[in-house]
C-alpha cells in the first residue's frame, strides 16, 4: 500500500537553524555546516537564523524547485513544533512529505548541554549525521485513503443523544439512535424543575423528541441495546438487540386503560427511584415518549381470562429482533446513574426520613398540593447534606459532581415558592454554584435558608431519637461549635457515577475508562469528545459529571467531529503502518499478541497461515516489528534500513575537534585519533590516584581533593564515575551532614 519512489540518487539538502541564539549561542553552527558538507549525498548545506520563517522556508522551496534537492533535513527545534510546517513546505514544493526528516538540536542538544558547548556541538553533528542517514533511505509514502459511511450510531437517547442526533441529521448524516429503555429522555425526564429556565425536564425531552420525529434521517429504536460491534472507523458493523413491548400496535386506547386498571401486578417503580409502585403494563410517566405502553414480562402474570379479554391489546408473539447496522462512527451517550448511598450512610435506608436528592425531586414533581408531605408527615424544614458520594475521602469517587450544589440550592428555592413555609438547611463542604448560578446562592441565603459548613474529616451525624431525627454538625463558620437540629426531612445531595451499563458498552466497544470509571477522552482540554479509538466519540455525562447545558455542548461537539470525519465520504489515515512480508512469515502469533490495537489477524497466503496487518487499525506502534523472530515486519516511515543507517551514522568513530585559530581544518585522519586515544589514557590516571588514596581509609570529597591537590569538582566527577563502575561505594555521612565518605568496594 505504500509506494517507493526512487527518483534517482538521493540529493540531500541540510538546513541548520540558529533559532536566534537558542541554538547558535551554544552550538557552533558554522562548524557543523563545515562538517556536514563533507558527507556523501549531501548536495546543499545552509544555515539561517530562523528556518521556520518565510525566508527560511523559501530557501528550501527554491532548492527543491531547482532540482538540487530531493531529500530534506532541517536541524532545528523539536518536531512537536514544526514537523508539519516543514512537511508542508516539502509537499508544496512537490516532494513527498515523508522525504523530510527533522533533527532536534535545540531541546535535545543546545538547551540540554548549555554548560558544555564543545561537547554540544559534537553531539549536534552526530544527531545530524543520523538524520542524514535516515533521510537517505526514506521512502515516499502516500496517505492511506478508505471509504467511509456517512452514518452514525448514537447509543443513548437522553438529552445528549437526542441533541446529537438532531444536529447530525441537519448536517446530512444518517443517524441510528438506540435507547435501552423503552422511553426516551434518560435522567432529564426525572428531574422536574430545572435550574436556569425553570422548565421541567419532561418538557425538554418532549421538545427534543418532537424534533427527532420531524427528521427522516433519524431512526429511533427504543428498548434496544448494543450487542456487538466490529470493523473500524468509517466502516463499523453493529449488532443491536431490540426488545419487544408486547403491546399490539394500533390497539384501542380506552381498552388498554381498562387493562391497566384491571392489572394487579405491581413492582417498585424504578423511574421514581422505588418511591412508588407501577403496574406491569406501564409507561415511565404520563406523557412519556414514544407514546406506547410496555409490558414488563418478568413481573406480568395475567390470568387466562385477562389475556382473552384484552387479546386485541396484548401480543406475546412479538419477538426480540437483531438489527445489523452499517455505520461510519459511534457516539456514546450512555449517561450516568445517581450515586446510591451505602446502607446507613447518614442513616440511608435505616432512618425513614433520609432520602436522596433525586428521590426528593420525584416527590416534589408528584406532589402538586401546597403542603409538602412525606410518609404522612408535614415537612416544615429540610436539611440538605452535600457531597454525598462525591469528593470522598475514603471512597473511590474523588471527583466533584459539578451539578449538585446548584441543583440542591435551586430545589430549596422551588420548595419555598411551592410550599411557602418550608425552611432549608444546607450542610455543605463548599458551595460551587459557578457562573451565573451564583445568583441562586444569593437568593437562597436571602430567603432565610441557613448554611452550615463542615470538614470532610468530621461529617454530620444523623441519628434517630424516638420520633425525631437529629442531625449534629461541627460548624466551621461558628468556630466548630456543634450545632444540633431536628429537620423533618433529610436530603442527601448525591452526585453522579457512571451508569452501570457503561461497563458493558465499554467492553463491547473497547472504549477505555478512566480511574473514576467514566469514559476517557483523548485530551481533557483539547480533545474532550474523542476516544483513542478512531470513530468512537463520547458525549454527555458518560464522559464525566456535567449539567444539561454542558451535556448539550459536548454532544454538539461530538456530532461536529463525527460529521467532519465522515462527510467527505472517505477518510485519510497516516501511512505510518506496519507491513508483513508474507513470504517470510510463519505465523507464530507473537506480533498479534503484542499489538495494543488488535490490528494483526491470521490469514491464508499461498496455502500457509500468515499474519496480516489491518492498515486501517494499525497506529504504527512498532511493537510487532521488534518481536518478530524472523524479521518479517517492517514499519513504513521507520523502516529497518532507515533505523540501521541512523545507528551507523551516529555511532561511527569520528574525530571531532574544534577548529582553532590558524589551524588547518582536520579531515579526520590518524593523528587525530592518536590524540584522542591519548586523552582517554589520561583519565584513568586520576582514577588510579583516587583509588590509591582510599586504600588506607575512607575519605570524603574535600579530603580527597586536598590529598591529590585537585579541584573539588574534578574529584567529584571522577569519583562518581568510579562509583558508577563499581570501584567505590559510598559510606556514612560526615558529622556536619555535608559529605559522604567513600571506600573501596571489596
Amino acid at each position: 500500500m505504500f509506494e517507493t519512489i526512487i527518483n534517482g540518487q538521493p540529493k540531500i539538502g541540510v538546513y541548520i537553524c540558529h533559532c536566534g541564539i537558542n541554538i547558535a549561542n551554544k552550538v557552533d553552527v558554522y562548524h557543523v555546516v563545515d562538517f556536514v558538507k563533507t558527507l556523501p549525498n549531501v548536495t546543499v548545506v545552509r544555515e539561517y537564523k530562523f528556518m521556520c520563517s518565510d525566508p527560511g522556508q523559501n530557501m528550501i522551496k527554491e532548492d527543491i524547485r531547482k532540482g538540487e534537492v530531493n531529500r530534506v533535513v532541517v536541524a532545528s527545534c523539536s518536531p512537536k513544533l514544526h514537523l508539519y510546517t516543514f512537511r508542508n513546505v516539502a509537499e508544496r514544493s512537490g516532494l513527498n512529505p515523508y522525504n523530510y526528516v527533522q533533527c532536534n538540536i535545540r531541546e535535545q542538544c543546545s538547551w540540554a548541554h548549555s554548560d558544555k558547548p564543545e561537547e554540544g556541538t559534537e553531539k549536534a553533528i552526530r544527531l545530524l549525521r543520523a538524520a542524514i542517514g535516515k533521510v537517505r533511505y526514506s521512502e515516499a509514502i502516500a496517505s492511506i485513503k478508505i471509504s467511509a459511511l456517512n452514518s452514525v450510531l448514537i447509543i443513548g437517547a437522553g438529552v445528549s443523544g437526542m441533541r446529537a442526533a438532531i444536529e447530525l441529521a441537519d448536517m446530512g448524516t444518517e443517524v441510528f439512535l438506540i435507547e435501552k429503555n423503552h422511553f426516551v429522555g434518560g435522567r432529564a425526564a426525572q428531574i422536574g424543575d430545572l435550574f436556569s429556565t425553570d422548565e421541567k425536564g419532561k418538557e425538554i425531552v418532549s421538545k427534543l423528541y418532537n424534533e427527532i420525529k420531524k427528521r427522516e434521517k433519524i431512526k429511533l429504536f427504543t428498548g434496544s441495546e448494543l450487542e456487538s460491534i466490529s470493523g473500524s472507523v468509517g466502516n463499523f458493523e453493529a449488532k443491536v438487540k431490540v426488545n419487544p413491548r408486547y403491546i399490539k400496535s394500533g390497539c384501542d386506547k380506552d381498552k388498554l386503560k381498562d387493562a391497566i386498571n384491571e392489572c394487579t401486578d405491581e413492582v417498585p417503580d424504578e423511574f421514581n427511584f422505588n418511591l412508588t409502585q407501577r403496574k406491569a403494563i406501564y409507561k415511565n410517566y404520563d406523557g412519556a415518549l414514544p407514546d406506547i405502553h410496555v409490558i414488563d414480562k418478568k413481573s406480568f402474570s395475567p390470568g387466562e381470562d385477562f389475556l382473552k379479554t384484552y387479546k386485541d391489546c396484548i401480543d406475546f408473539n412479538q419477538k426480540t429482533e437483531i438489527l445489523n447496522l452499517d455505520i461510519g462512527a459511534v457516539i456514546l451517550c450512555t449517561g450516568f446513574d445517581p450515586y446510591e448511598p451505602a446502607e446507613n450512610e447518614y442513616g440511608y435506608k435505616q432512618i425513614d426520613n433520609v432520602i436522596t436528592l433525586q428521590q426528593f425531586k420525584r416527590i416534589i414533581e408528584l406532589n402538586n398540593s401546597d403542603k409538602l408531605v412525606y410518609n404522612g408527615k408535614n415537612i416544615k424544614n429540610v436539611a440538605f447534606i452535600y457531597c454525598v458520594g462525591s469528593r470522598q475521602v475514603n471512597g473511590d469517587n474523588k471527583y466533584c459532581s459539578r451539578f449538585c450544589c446548584t441543583a440542591a440550592i435551586h430545589t430549596s428555592l422551588i420548595i419555598k415558592k411551592k410550599y411557602q413555609n418550608v425552611r432549608s438547611f444546607h450542610l455543605f463542604r463548599d458551595i460551587r454554584t459557578y457562573g451565573k448560578q451564583e445568583e441562586l446562592y444569593d437568593e437562597a441565603s436571602r430567603q432565610g435558608d441557613i448554611f452550615l459548613k463542615f470538614d470532610a474529616e468530621e461529617p454530620p451525624v444523623v441519628e434517630r431519637n424516638g420520633e425525631f431525627t437529629t442531625v449534629k454538625i461541627k460548624d466551621i463558620l461558628s468556630e466548630r461549635e456543634e450545632i444540633e437540629m431536628t429537620p423533618d426531612l433529610i436530603v442527601l445531595v448525591t452526585g453522579m457515577v457512571p451508569a452501570k451499563d457503561n461497563e458493558k458498552v465499554a467492553s463491547i466497544v473497547k472504549a477505555p475508562v478512566g480511574r473514576d470509571n467514566f469514559f476517557n477522552e483523548v485530551h481533557p482540554k483539547l480533545r474532550p469528545v474523542e476516544t483513542v479509538i478512531d470513530g468512537i466519540y463520547i458525549a454527555g455525562t458518560c464522559q464525566g459529571p456535567k449539567n444539561i447545558t454542558e451535556s448539550v455542548k459536548s454532544s454538539l461537539s461530538a456530532s461536529a467531529k463525527a460529521h467532519s470525519l465522515l462527510s467527505k465520504g472517505e477518510i485519510e489515515l497516516e501511512p505510518i503502518v506496519a507491513k508483513i512480508n508474507e513470504n517470510i512469515c510463519e505465523w507464530c502469533d507473537k506480533c498479534a499478541e503484542v499489538c495494543d490495537y488488535d490490528a494483526i489477524v491470521k490469514t491464508e497466503y499461498k496455502g500457509k497461515m500468515v499474519a496480516t496487518v489491518n492498515q486501517v487499525v494499525c497506529k504504527g506502534g512498532g511493537m510487532c516489528v521488534s518481536v518478530c523472530p524472523v524479521d518479517a515486519i517492517d514499519l513504513a516511515g521507520y523502516t529497518n534500513n532507515e533505523i540501521e543507517s541512523m545507528i551507523d551514522m551516529m555511532t561511527k568513530e569520528i574525530a571531532v575537534i574544534m577548529k582553532k585559530e590558524g589551524e588547518e581544518q582536520p579531515s579526520g585522519g590518524e593523528d587525530i585519533k592518536e590524540k584522542s586515544d591519548q586523552k582517554m589514557k589520561e583519565l584513568p590516571e586520576v582514577w588510579k590516584s583516587i583509588l590509591k588514596t582510599l586504600e588506607t581509609e575512607e575519605k570524603n570529597i574535600p579530603q580527597i581533593s586536598k590529598d591529590l591537590n585537585l579541584p573539588q569538582p574534578v574529584v567529584t566527577y571522577n569519583l562518581m564515575t568510579l562509583v558508577k563502575y563499581g570501584y567505590i561505594s559510598p559510606g556514612e555521612m560526615d558529622d556536619k551532614d555535608e559529605y559522604y565518605f567513600y571506600k573501596l568496594k571489596q
Binding site: N381, R423, S445, D449, D475, S478, E481, I483, E484
Partner: protein, 385 residues
C-alpha cells in the same frame, strides 16, 4: 452544643435587623472594623450567631456594646447583609433581655405600645395638672413655683429618679448575670472588680471608644468634620448638655427652677444655654442625618431611634420656649402652658427611655467595657501571662 433556632432571625427583624441571612461569612466586616480586635472579634461572629439563633452565645457576649456603629462593615459587606444594623438590633434585643419586666420588648416590637405609653404618660401628667392644680394663679407675673412648687416637683424628681435608677440597676445586674456569672469558663477574682473600676468611670465620662470608631481621614480637621472625631464630638456635646440639666434638675432644682430673672451671664442661665445648645445641636444634627439617610449608620432607623431623638429635641425646644416666654415677659399663661407641655414631654421620655429603651445605653456601654475588661484580665491571670 447549641440547638439551631432559625426563627430567631425573624424575631430579630422586629428589632431592626435587615437581610442578615444573606451573610456568607466572608469576614470582610470583621476585617474592616476599627474597633474589633483578636480578643473581641466582631461583627461576623455576632451575625453568625444571630442567623443560627444561638441566643446564649449572644447574651454571654459584651461585643454588641463594643460596637459604635461607624457603619464601615455594612459598606464593605459584599452581600449587603447590614452587619452594622445587626449589631444595633442586637443592642435593642439585649436591652429587652436585660429588662425582666418585658416592657422593653413590647416597646421595641410594637408601635402601639411605644406611642401608647408615651401618650398615656403625657396624658397622666396633663391630668395631674388639670385635676390637682387647676389652671394658674397669678396672671400678671410668672410664678412657676406657684404653679408647681419646686419642693414638690423635687420630690417627684427624686421618686422618679429612684424608681428609674432602681430598675436600671436591676437590669444591669441581669446583664452581669448573663455576661459574667453564666460564663463557666471564667472566674473573676474579687480584686479585679476594684482595679478595673476606673474603666467604668472613664468610659462613662468620655465615651472614648467612640473616637476610634469610623475611619481615620486625612487631616485633623477632616476627622472632626466627617471622620473619626465627628460623631464623638457631637455626641459628647449632647451628652454633656443632658448631664448638666440632669444635675441641675434633680440636685439643684430650687436653684434652677427660679422665678427670678438672672442676668444672661449668670451660671443658672449660662449652664442652661450650654446644655440646651448641646441638646439641640446634637439632636438636630442626628435628625438631619437620619432624615437624609446619607450615612451608613443612618440608613436604617427603627421607630425607637426616632422617638428618642425627637423626644429629646422636643424637651429641649419646649424648655427653650418656656424660658424665652418667661424672660421676655410674654403673656404669663403662655409660660405656664409651656411648663406643662415641657413636663408632658420630659416625663414620658424619661420613664420610657431610661430603663426600657435607648437611653439605657448610657449605663450598658460603660458596664459592658467594664465586664469585658474583667473577663480579659481574669483570663490573663488564668493563663499566667
Amino acid at each position: 452544643m447549641f440547638k439551631l433556632k432559625p426563627e430567631f432571625s425573624t424575631e430579630l427583624s422586629e428589632f431592626g435587623a435587615v437581610d442578615i441571612n444573606a451573610c456568607y461569612n466572608c469576614g470582610n466586616c470583621t476585617a474592616i472594623c476599627p474597633l474589633s480586635d483578636e480578643d473581641n472579634s466582631f461583627p461576623r461572629k455576632m451575625v453568625r450567631a444571630s442567623v443560627l439563633g444561638l441566643e446564649d452565645k449572644i447574651q454571654i457576649s459584651a461585643d454588641p456594646w463594643l460596637c459604635y456603629y461607624c457603619g464601615e462593615c455594612s459598606t464593605t459587606c459584599p452581600r449587603e447583609a447590614n452587619p452594622g444594623e445587626l449589631m444595633m438590633s442586637l443592642r435593642r434585643y439585649l436591652i429587652s433581655k436585660y429588662d425582666w419586666t418585658g416592657l422593653s420588648k413590647k416597646f421595641y416590637t410594637s408601635k402601639k405600645w411605644e406611642f401608647g405609653a408615651i401618650f398615656l404618660l403625657a396624658g397622666l401628667v396633663f391630668l395631674l395638672f388639670a385635676l390637682l392644680n387647676g389652671i394658674p394663679v397669678s396672671t400678671d407675673k410668672v410664678l412657676l413655683n406657684e404653679l408647681a412648687p419646686w419642693q414638690i416637683v423635687e420630690i417627684g424628681d427624686w421618686t422618679m429618679a429612684a424608681l428609674l435608677a432602681g430598675l436600671l440597676i436591676s437590669f444591669i445586674f441581669n446583664m452581669y448575670r448573663k455576661i459574667i456569672i453564666k460564663d463557666e469558663n471564667i472566674k473573676i477574682p474579687l480584686k479585679l472588680y476594684f482595679t478595673e473600676f476606673w474603666a467604668l468611670i472613664f468610659h462613662f465620662a468620655s465615651q472614648w471608644r467612640f473616637s476610634d470608631c469610623e475611619m481615620k481621614v486625612k487631616t485633623f480637621w477632616k476627622n472632626i468634620l466627617e471622620g473619626k472625631y465627628n460623631y464623638w464630638i457631637v455626641h459628647w456635646l449632647l451628652m454633656s448638655g443632658y448631664v448638666i440639666l440632669f444635675i441641675m434638675i434633680v440636685g439643684f432644682l430650687g436653684w434652677f427652677q427660679t422665678d427670678k430673672i438672672h442676668p444672661w451671664w449668670h451660671p443658672q442661665r449660662l449652664l442652661g444655654y450650654y446644655a440646651t445648645f448641646g441638646l439641640v445641636f446634637g439632636t438636630v444634627y442626628f435628625i438631619i442625618h437620619r432624615y437624609k439617610k446619607d450615612r451608613e449608620n443612618t440608613k436604617y432607623s427603627h421607630v425607637t431611634d426616632w422617638t428618642f431623638v425627637v423626644l429629646l429635641l422636643m424637651a429641649a425646644v419646649s424648655g427653650i420656649l418656656m424660658h424665652i416666654s418667661r424672660v421676655s415677659q410674654l403673656p404669663v399663661l403662655l409660660t405656664y402652658y409651656m411648663y406643662v407641655v415641657h413636663l408632658m414631654i420630659v416625663v414620658p421620655m424619661l420613664m420610657i427611655e431610661v430603663p426600657f429603651s435607648k437611653w439605657s445605653h448610657l449605663a450598658y456601654r460603660p458596664f459592658a467595657i467594664y465586664f469585658d475588661n474583667l473577663k480579659k484580665s481574669a483570663g490573663k491571670i488564668k493563663s499566667g501571662s
